[in-house]
């Protein structure tokens, strides 16, 4: 796929949305809700967070007005693409028992309506690729995730405004979308005036053609390159030691206990993490007793029940749970999926109610090598 860049003026955003809506897409995009930038139903450009930006720090997130008039001049909010593909709760199947005791099973129907997400960031695309690996590319493929994934159109926006909690440049996942596998259909870069846009898939190319865009000028490309260079300067970075092997060599380190003294084991980090995949399954019988629905919903390795087995809780304390999470994310994930499970989005840092910073946690295990 040739990735030709086109110039896309701000007043064409509404046309893009209209075209997508006309084609039957449910459009989802960023907007201010509950004091944060959230993904929600989108039909009008006015819903986008024009001139809004945000400040993030460990345990803190606040919205501010921005001097420039840009739509996407903010770093990621609490959600990623994850809830659109791996639903927070969904029915997998239903059972019914007849009077003679026979049990019948019916599969739940997955969501089939095409969805277009506008505004996804490079870190979210990287996380989506990891969830694709987990849910689609192993021994079993999940039909519910697959149906949503096949029906998802991704319009990414390169990040020009990383937060102080972001470290995507250090994990190699951002701030711009490096998309060899064409996981995003289109990628936008917001300039001072207007956008650059490029299609990564045939589907994206078709949508661009319908807009009848003009080619871009060298000055647009230069501006994009300087946005990229600026956004790549991030104070926060992964520590330089070999995290993968070091963590597994430090399982008895007292630092686990010292982190656990602060950690509430609340699971906020795993809820906002765009790669965490743990979920529990529950059967919910109807009140008349004639049928029962089997659901899955997000779970967290920080919950009491996560490691429960016949009367024993394997990870009974917070220290063990934090160690499970960190060693999985940064160490054993490599063995499972060929890379770290962290995409540098910094959500776990921002949304931790007590401000535990994952980079500081990792640094505790650096010892002399850090």
């Amino acid at each position: 796929m040739k990735m030709e860049h086109y110039y896309f003026s701000t007043d064409q955003l509404q046309r893009l949305l209209d075209n997508l809506l006309d084609e039957g897409y449910r459009c989802v995009g960023p907007q201010v809700r509950d004091g944060a930038i959230m993904y929600d139903e989108l039909s009008r450009v006015e819903q986008l967070p024009l001139g809004v930006t945000e400040t993030q720090a460990p345990g803190s997130y606040s919205l501010n007005r921005h001097a420039t008039q840009k739509y996407f001049d903010w770093a990621n909010g609490p959600q990623a693409i994850k809830p659109l593909l791996f639903a927070p709760q969904e029915k997998l199947w239903q059972s019914a028992q007849a009077a003679d005791g026979q049990i019948s099973f019916n599969t739940a129907e997955p969501e089939l309506r095409p969805v277009a997400i506008i505004g996804a960031r490079a870190c979210e695309i990287a996380a989506m690729k990891l969830q694709d690996q987990h849910f689609l590319q192993q021994q079993y493929s999940d039909p519910f995730y697959k149906s949503r994934r096949d029906n998802l159109l991704v319009i990414a926006v390169n990040c020009g405004h990383p937060a102080s909690t972001c470290f995507c440049h250090s994990t190699g996942d951002g701030p711009f979308v490096e998309d060899d596998e064409a996981a995003a259909d289109m990628v936008l870069t917001e300039l001072e005036h207007g956008f650059l846009i490029a299609a990564h898939t045939d589907r994206g190319e078709k949508i661009l053609e319908d807009l009848g865009l003009d080619g871009c000028h060298q000055q647009h490309l230069d501006e994009s390159a300087s946005i990229r260079a600026r956004a790549s300067i991030q104070d926060k970075q992964l520590p330089q030691f070999d995290i993968k092997s070091r963590l597994l060599n430090e399982l008895d380190n007292e630092a686990w206990d010292s982190i656990a003294e602060t950690c509430l084991s609340c699971g906020n980090c795993t809820s906002v993490c765009p790669t965490c995949f743990c979920h529990s399954e529950n059967d919910v019988p109807e009140l008349d007793g004639k049928s029962s629905s089997h659901f899955r919903e997000w779970d967290s390795c920080f919950s009491q029940g996560h490691s429960y087995i016949h009367g024993i809780t394997i990870r009974s304390n917070t220290s063990q749970r934090y160690r499970q999470w960190l060693t999985h994310k940064f160490s054993t994930w490599h063995d499972q999926y060929g890379r770290s499970g962290c995409v540098g989005c910094g959500r776990c840092v921002t949304w931790c109610p007590v401000g535990i910073d994952v980079i500081e946690s990792l640094a505790k295990f650096g010892g002399d090598a850090s």
Binding site: L92, W93, S95, Q97, G101, Q102, I103, S104, F105, N106, T107, A108, E109, P110, H134, F135, Q138, Q139, Y140, S141, D142, P143, F144, S147, L248, D252, F277, C278, H279, S280, E281, N282, D283, P285, G289, S292, H294, R296, D299, C301, G305, H306, S307, Y308, I309, H310, G311, I314, R315, S316, N317, S319, Q324, T327, H328, T332, W333, H334, D335, Q336
Partner: protein, 281 residues
Amino acid sequence: MINAQHNPHQPHEAIIVERIDEGADMFSLRLKFSDPKLQDDYEFEPGQFNMLYLYGVGEIAISIVSDPEDSHIIDHTIRIIGRVTRGMANLKTGDRIGLRGSYGRGWPILEAKQKDVIIVTGGLGCAPVVSAINYIEQRRGDYGRLNIVQGVKHSADLIWKSRYDRWRQLPQTRVFLTADVGDALWPWHVGPVTTLFDQMEYDPDNVTVMMCGPEGMMRAACTQLLEKNIASSQLFLSMERNMQCALGHCGHCQYGSKFICKNGPVFSYDEIADLFSVKGF
């Protein structure tokens, strides 16, 4: 559209052909898929497990104890311990249940042929190794000397006395029973399983060890057997963790880089040695 064949989460109806009370809060269910085609197509190996579904309550992972070459029936021995097993215990012959499987990697039962075999188990029943013992019993000539070491906490916990008596009668087979706490009528050994290892007969260069039970017991057993020059690659352990999906997706059974439901539940000591000595994984 997903049809049931393509929704790996969905169980299929099975009939309880027989329910057997095993005593000591244990019971066995002999199952058969209602759909004869599913029953015909069903395959498993000793050490693998199924997901059993109790209508309106939920699913649990249970080891399969029947013979893989008997295509007529699928046997499970279950201990009453939680919400699902407590409800399941009330089912009777002829009742219906949900079933999906088989899942995971079982014992290296074919690779163990012509070798001596040591089975070490602790606790009640220990269904995963019972499947291996049954398999060897049916093909006794294919295996070398068989040592079965069963430990229980209290002498009262020993179930299936008659089964041990039957195994003791097999050629080239020795059965060792021990209780951590004995009583006046306990005729066998008192002490941990490892104190019986000196009495076993086997060739350390040509033996396969299969064990299941509490991890503390398995840790002690591995240490002792390694000292007796059995290769770590020949020690196999059936591991247990919370399992909810059995498809390698839900994350509960992760053990370091392994998913116990799909990479296990049976592992060689080599594969898990790194974490096996650490609490909390």
